[in-house]
Symmetry: C2
Subunit: 467 residues, 2 copies
């Protein structure tokens, strides 16, 4: 009985899926939370674990690259044909903070399979999506009889994505020769739904800051002093309230400078998607749509810049009451940026706005984290076809095109390496990124493996004609 390459790939995956899941679960048990300093040893452990696993997978070159923060993992598996294209896969091995009491049904770092889903912090964002490439490349070799991939395959899996990738750009710049690639494949995004596989064509950028506001030198009695001195919690609240105008547009002067508006073609592609707002709201676990006037929900999350409060705090938050004017308050803000916006300009505009807003008698400081630039894949770039074809084979249906509201350091890779960025992600919106009960659908995880297994051959075959 002769096998088509597709069925050979599927057979290989079936034979190895159990060991693959065991390995992934082992990795997910490492709480590699880059935002929390006491988890730094775990982030290191996560990098070391991945490096060992990539060696075992067959990559002849595997290196853990230290940074001033958390380490990245680099791997390289050259093709036999020296003229084959070079592809760099990007992902990250760090995860968002998670604690059982946030609302998890099981321990976030004790992976559990329930109803065909693997629940764990990092299952979808991003360990699961990094890891499908390991079985993918093995299936590619097994199905094609090769001993090396059809492309020069490189992996760069960083350890600070969930902290805004503060050292990523410097790392890429200092290792640009090792990372040199003809295309970058980012596996850190999602697709439309289980039934509608899609390829993402852009991500928003991200600028984040914490604004700390200081009032009295210590908490003071709200009876003795209330009503006669400024309250930093009130100042924090007024700042947040002033962030949007009555049209839900960001009210920071200069915020929209340079924003690239959607083209008609992009609007058409959005319109091809089976968007159902009631269903989208269920996925968002939210009870109303609300956003910038004059834009649809999809435009708001994919193509419009936004400002959100990620955290606010000040004064007494425990049980009962404490009648104080608090000494301090703080606000964590994040701004999603779209093509045409410059994070440096945004930082200046926000700082000027905060200085203007904070009232007399309240001292303040604004601390910005490293920013992530927005990123757009040219819609007419021929390499998109390889990704769309590989994914179409895996899913057995033509793929549509989306964008991603989230952010990643893909734009830095595009800029420093001079390579186009493509997105290959198999996560769905209900996967709970950054939320309690994060999970990955096992079916989709293996579609990811399959897509990865098809992609390298397709790219090698079509790259030269495309370029």
């Amino acid at each position: 009985m002769s096998q088509t390459p597709d069925s050979a790939v599927r057979t290989y995956i079936e034979q190895h899926c159990s060991a693959f899941l065991d390995d992934l679960a082992e990795w997910l048990r490492i709480p590699s939370v880059s935002a929390q300093p006491d988890h730094a040893p775990d982030v290191q452990r996560s990098a070391d674990w991945l490096a060992a696993k990539l060696l075992e997978t067959g990559f002849p070159t595997v290196e853990v690259w230290p940074t001033p923060g958390a380490p990245a993992v680099f791997a390289h598996w050259p093709a036999e044909d020296p003229h084959a294209p070079t592809v760099l896969v990007y992902g990250h091995h760090d995860v968002q903070p998670a604690a059982r009491e946030d609302g998890w049904d099981s321990e976030p770092f004790a992976p559990e399979v329930r109803d065909g889903r693997l629940y764990a912090r990092g299952a979808a964002d991003d360990k699961g999506q990094v890891f499908f490439h390991t079985l993918g490349v093995r299936a590619h070799l097994a199905a094609t009889g090769r001993t090396a991939p059809a492309v020069h395959l490189k992996l760069l899996i960083e350890g600070e994505e969930e902290s805004g990738s503060p050292h990523f750009r410097a790392l890429v710049e200092s290792r640009a020769d090792r990372l040199a690639a003809d295309a970058v494949v980012v596996s850190d995004t999602g697709m439309w739904s289980e039934d509608t596989p899609t390829v993402c064509t852009g991500m928003r950028g991200l600028a984040e800051c914490e604004i700390r506001l200081y009032g009295p030198d210590q908490d003071i009695h709200s009876g003795s002093f209330g009503g006669a001195v400024p309250n930093p919690a009130t100042a924090a609240a007024r700042l947040v309230a002033a962030l949007h105008d009555e049209h839900a547009r960001v009210a920071v002067p200069g915020f929209y400078d340079g924003v690239v508006e959607l083209t008609d073609r992009e609007r058409e592609l959005f319109a091809e998607l089976p968007f159902d707002e009631a269903r989208w709201l269920r996925t968002a676990k939210s009870y109303a749509a609300h956003g910038e006037a004059g834009h649809t929900t999809l435009e708001r999350v994919w193509a419009r810049p936004t400002a959100e409060v990620n955290g606010i705090g000040g004064g007494y938050q425990g049980p009962g009451s404490k009648t104080i004017i608090p000494a301090s308050a703080m606000v964590k803000l994040s701004f999603r940026l779209v093509a045409g916006q410059d994070p440096d300009h945004i930082e200046k505009a926000v700082r000027a706005w905060v200085d203007e807003q904070v009232p007399d008698g309240i001292r303040h400081e604004t601390v910005f984290a490293a920013a992530t630039r927005p990123c757009l894949t040219p819609l007419d770039h021929p390499a998109l076809r390889s990704v769309a074809r590989a994914m179409g084979r895996a899913f057995g249906t033509p793929v549509l095109f989306t964008r991603e509201g989230g952010s990643g350091p893909a734009a830095d890779l595009q800029e420093v390496l001079g390579a186009p960025v493509l997105f290959l992600g198999i996560s769905v919106p209900s996967d709970g990124w950054h939320a309690p009960n994060e999970k990955v659908e096992l079916d989709l995880l293996f579609k990811g493996v399959e897509t990865s297994a098809y992609l390298w051959g397709d790219l090698a075959e079509h790259w030269r004609e495309a370029s």
Copy 2:
């Protein structure tokens, strides 16, 4: 050598001050935080400790009165003359929450004397001020050769004042016959300064609520959903920002209904005080005066109703960042009320305002704690003279008159018992009520003892002519 009663009182106090301070320190070691349920056994311990100490002081009747919350302590020491007036001293044995890491220089529940000050949570608010009456009554007896006080002396020391006295009114109503008194002396206020002894003539009332706002069913990714659904932290902030108008007046419709404005005589009494705004700001540890337009700072804190944010919280407040739209946020508000305002009306007005303000897609609940009514001693009440005279003897200087911005359940006593309320407090604004490093000045503590020692004789002598 003949002794005047004043010098006899002073000699007695000098002889017993060391044991008195040891006893007070023992009481302050009990963390009787009524707002925190896990301290309930400590609040009970505090009541039991005080009851034993009052028996030791000589009160023939001492009882611990349970409530559905924390217990109160009642004591009664009848005068020999059945026609002597009956005076009820009010105070509280519970304290505000406190933790070393809030900014204390020493453990809040390990009392420490430094530079003539006793530092501990409760040192001034209110254990110190309750306790000075124990040595006060002994000095009164010693100096006058009596075996019982000149008045029928009752004490009611409650255990839930720092939690808004939720069961106090019911307790007073159910025990009204035991508590019956001709006058109530509240020792839970302060005076102008060490150099300017004053008698307080009123306290503000207090209404407190917590508003909880719910957005998504769980924290959701601010990249995937940001800019397209309502954020409960933003809603919380907008609520707080809408609480005051541009004149720093409370913007809740109906809030000022019934407010009794200051009379000219009251304004004159305020003006006699040596008010220095720069100095007041240093005491408030604040950097600007800010409040209702058209009113002075003293008017704002003593005679005007206010709204303050005591706490605000929502989303991620830890180190680094977490790019979420939080599932929930909350705000703790307190409203200080003045004569003429009705807490029930305020609660209705605030609930209606919250319902109006919260946007679509955000669910909310508002929980009110038990309210405290405002209280004003009639300026022309003759019993004020007894308190002013006793305090003038202790301090060796005539006293002036103030009000108190804080709140206490004195108005309930006035209303239920039909007795005038007088304020005898020796704390100063720098004592740090509800703040880190709360302390009491030892000099003033003993002036309190002395005032208490003079008061009962003066009241017995002048009461009948005054009534």
